[in-house]
């Protein structure tokens, strides 16, 4: 069970390529908080990870909420008086206001404009807009196109339906040696948006794919859920499971090229917070953010009644990059390389999560004689490196049951990986347990 070595054998480049290609397949699908787009997405993931797909009927009470009616759309367009499709859902699903009601009607420009959404600051981009709980219809177009519209009749056609159905989500549980769990969660409710939603989905799926064959201390749970209503649904159906969650990370916005930002859990000093903080010290430009009650599904996991040790890993947070929730968050905005770097960082996190224990020095009075155990050599060699000896001394000195290996890494400034290796050697000569 040497996870670090197992991880070293992973072909990261290849994994990056795999994730990017997966994003390319998922990109055209029109996802929302319910509907076939979610089902299509999950069935693609199920090709390579053991995904359990759940359907929760509309109207089901989930905590303070209720599962909404299901939305599906077959087609949607706007034709001008010449019969030309000037807006076409099939070309870009962002054009349709998400959860739009069906309509088939001819209207004039003035009425049309009341239903058009644009982004004047970025006139080339199409915005992404939703109307989940507020029934209406609408289209999203670029501001440039909006300004070119001329008087005339417009044929509006939306072939959608909103009716009782179910909310769909997917879940993977990879069992470890204990029932204690590490949770990774991503949202699957956005249509053609890459950094926001697809980057999290492909990373979570690839991580599950990697871990599914490994020997693990913790059990690992991956949630592929619609934002807000999905985490609320999952929490309401899994109150017993929740108490097993020892660490968790919400994954989103991990495909662009900016440095990592980690938003701490509400607890603020949970082990996962400290682990990520420790690892981010080596990531130039990275930032630790304090918890705030706005954001992604960490809002629900960290609501006071659950207060789980769940943080969020992103690169530039939402609302801080202009491409957020626009057509510019497309396949050009993410890259295989960036996804690969995010994966590599998450593997480091898992290495520390798995390896972080409190050891006990079995010879706590005075230093043990290292020489007679072959742990101290007077003649130079790789083992004699000062770092090695210091790591030994730090572990022995602090392993009194109150310091974890991570605590020792932070106090000593010695890298976690070396400490872990030496702790295992000390265990073998019965100096640690």
């Amino acid at each position: 069970m040497d996870l670090t070595k197992d991880f070293q054998e992973i072909d990261l480049k290849q994994s990056g390529k795999f994730m990017y290609e997966l994003a390319e397949r998922l990109y055209p699908i029109c996802r929302s908080i319910t509907g076939n787009g979610v089902r299509d997405t999950l069935s693609i993931l199920k090709e390579f990870i053991p995904l359990k797909i759940e359907e929760v009927p509309s109207g089901t009470k989930v905590l303070d909420w209720e599962i909404p009616d299901e939305w599906n759309v077959s087609d949607a367009w706007v034709k001008n008086s010449n019969g030309e499709k000037i807006v076409d859902f099939k070309k870009l699903n962002l054009h349709l206001l998400n959860y739009s009601l069906p309509i088939d009607k001819t209207i004039d420009l003035e009425e049309l404009k009341e239903h058009l959404h644009t982004l004047p600051e970025y006139p080339d981009w199409v915005p992404y807009r939703t109307a989940y709980y507020n029934r209406q219809w609408g289209f999203c177009i670029s501001h440039n196109q909006f300004q070119r519209l001329t008087e005339g009749d417009f044929h509006i056609y939306i072939d959608s339906e909103i009716k009782p159905g179910s909310l769909t989500y997917g879940e993977v549980l990879i069992p470890g040696n204990t029932k204690e769990e590490v949770l990774f969660s991503c949202h699957i409710c956005h249509p053609s948006l890459c950094n926001d939603n697809l980057s999290g989905i492909v990373l979570a799926a690839k991580l599950a794919d990697i871990l599914k064959t490994m020997t693990l201390h913790y059990s690992y749970r991956f949630l592929f859920i619609p934002g807000t209503i999905g985490s609320i649904t999952w929490l309401s159906r899994n109150e017993d499971t929740v108490k097993n969650i020892k660490h968790g990370v919400v994954l989103t916005l991990l495909g662009d090229s900016t440095p990592f930002q980690y938003k701490k859990s509400r607890q603020g000093n949970s082990e996962i917070d400290r682990i990520v903080e420790y690892l981010l010290k080596d990531e130039i430009g990275s930032k630790m953010l304090d918890f705030s009650p706005y954001g992604y599904d960490e809002r629900q996991f960290c609501s006071p009644g659950f207060n789980l040790p769940v943080g969020r890993l992103s690169r530039t947070p939402f609302e801080e990059f202009p491409e957020y929730h626009t057509s510019a968050d497309n396949l050009d905005f993410i890259s295989a390389n960036n996804l690969c770097d995010s994966l590599e960082f998450l593997l480091k996190v898992i290495s520390v999560v798995e390896g972080n224990k409190k050891w006990i020095n079995l010879n706590p009075k005075g230093e043990p004689q290292l020489g007679k155990r072959g742990l101290y050599k007077t003649i130079g060699g790789q083992r004699l490196q000062k770092n090695y000896q210091m790591a030994l001394l730090w572990i022995l000195n602090l392993s009194d049951g109150s310091y974890s290996l991570l605590d020792i890494a932070i106090k000593s400034g010695i890298e976690f990986e070396l400490l872990l290796e030496i702790a295992k050697e000390l265990e073998q000569v019965k100096l640690l347990k």
Copy 2:
């Protein structure tokens, strides 16, 4: 019971004018730690606030101290050999060493000089000096006048008496919904000095005047007492009351134009300390000072046997402005405007003191659905302001019984007033209690 709104209806300008005019009336009175000056002062305050006046006989044991003999003075002057009054108590009561013994005698310049006090660094100003526990007589004059004195006989006349009487102080208790108290204390033992003593007196009186008709959570106690011996006397007679004091502020030096300085209570992190610190963040140039055992009556309230949560609000502290304890601390040194600003700040303090509670989120698992309760609107409007929504989320997230509204204000950076308003709305829809 919406105190904030009640406070908004106060005519602050008018209150400033009222306080300044009150200071003008009180200025000529010769106060000391005992005597008729204190009685005259209190009877003026009693015209508009429900003051209870206490008389404690000389010789009464109070804690480690004893009430001294009472001092009263009718007249005092120095005449030169031409019979001209060159120093006249009736023109400026600072001219007489406070607690001077009576005398009626003709002496030469040399002897006179032994009894004269001046301020060489500020040759135009008359110093304020006292000899409470050290019987003597003396006069205070400007250094310029001192240097102009020429040889000759001087007729010294002091018509004073020091004899058993009593120590006088005043007290107002404005009852609230609980027995828990907020204490405001000011000293009333200085003669014609405005920033030092009068500014605190008129502010405390005006505050009592404002609060006397309001519906309050806490009971409010105002003490008008001579410094040191007065607080020791009050404490010794009110040991049972003391345990009800939840917050307290000593008021002094609040009429000049410099920024506020708040000296923390001995506890150092009491709720009143944190409230004032929070509010001072918006006051440019203001300072928080650590507790030290030197100063005004906070010395007694914060002695280790009481250790009350009582801080001190001032502007520039004593001994740090040259006018301190001189004739220059006169009616020109304070202004209606500055008193008005001090009053406004104190009303803010009281608003937070009254509104600071720990709420409990009644729907702690996941976020409640705000939409169905009318707390979330998708179409813009005043309510949709991001600040409003963030305030909602912060209150819901942190109201688990361990965070007060002040804690939430500090953590979120959202102003207390908005949080208070929203907490009340959430209480109405039964999301908070």
Copy 3:
């Protein structure tokens, strides 16, 4: 029992001279972790301090270790083919690899070179090397000499023996009023090295000499022990004594002219750590170092099974000055003056250790009336100094059982010595106990 006054009567200059001359006597002796060099050293110290000398037989189990065989050496040299002694142990004992096996053999230059140790970076200096647990023989010479060696036969002669004997150490216990102990420890296992080992030895001896006639609160224990194996031996034989140790300092590298550096105990905030930190604030350029498990015998005292409040006082730490473990750490590298300054600092440490108590204000409600107890004078004089009055107020205000005099010194910024003097005055007038 006024230790501060007793200390003021010490002739520090003379003490510095005494310590330096003692170092001169001890310098030529060839010490190691066992053997007659240690015995000779201790018998010189025994001339003036009540030293108990312990012998622990080779082979004795001490914690995880075992007492090694004893090493003694009578003579050692290298002769060139002309019969000239080119390396002579009797001239400088560093020339012999410490714990060298005996040998008497003629070898060629090539073979000789395999047994020579030099310091290329400091070609004039002879390095100090040991081979305690790794049997071999060798010589240490300057790199310049090494480079001048020419082909030829060399007669190697080492008249040493390594055989069962004992490990020797010395101990002084100066009893105080309580069984609680202050520990001073120094290592005595280095041959002709002055800053490293002799400075600690002469300081510990002089301190013991000073304290042996004084009335003390704590008992003082001085250990003169070989490094590592000595402290392990002492700890293994004194597990019961260990629990009495309330403060401890390892003394080493205290004869050079650089500022003090204090390495905190593993506890990190023990009283001795705070005392030294407080006193070092006045020592320009001094540093506080966090605990690390590498160094001198604090490694053993602070092993997790003992975790004693033992820090280390040095000037420039080992491995940070080039003379460390070379012939340049000689009598020119230390001075009577520097030893004297180190002694003076240690006496200050002892003054605070002895004087640091938690007093109780017997009149905690309000301030006591200082005037009636003669502690407050209205007319100037030395007593009236503001500092004196502030010290009085601080002690009275904080002496509630939770603050020690050191805490008060730190909080008030008033020097410990003045606080101690005033605390004693307050005790006399029954305001403190």
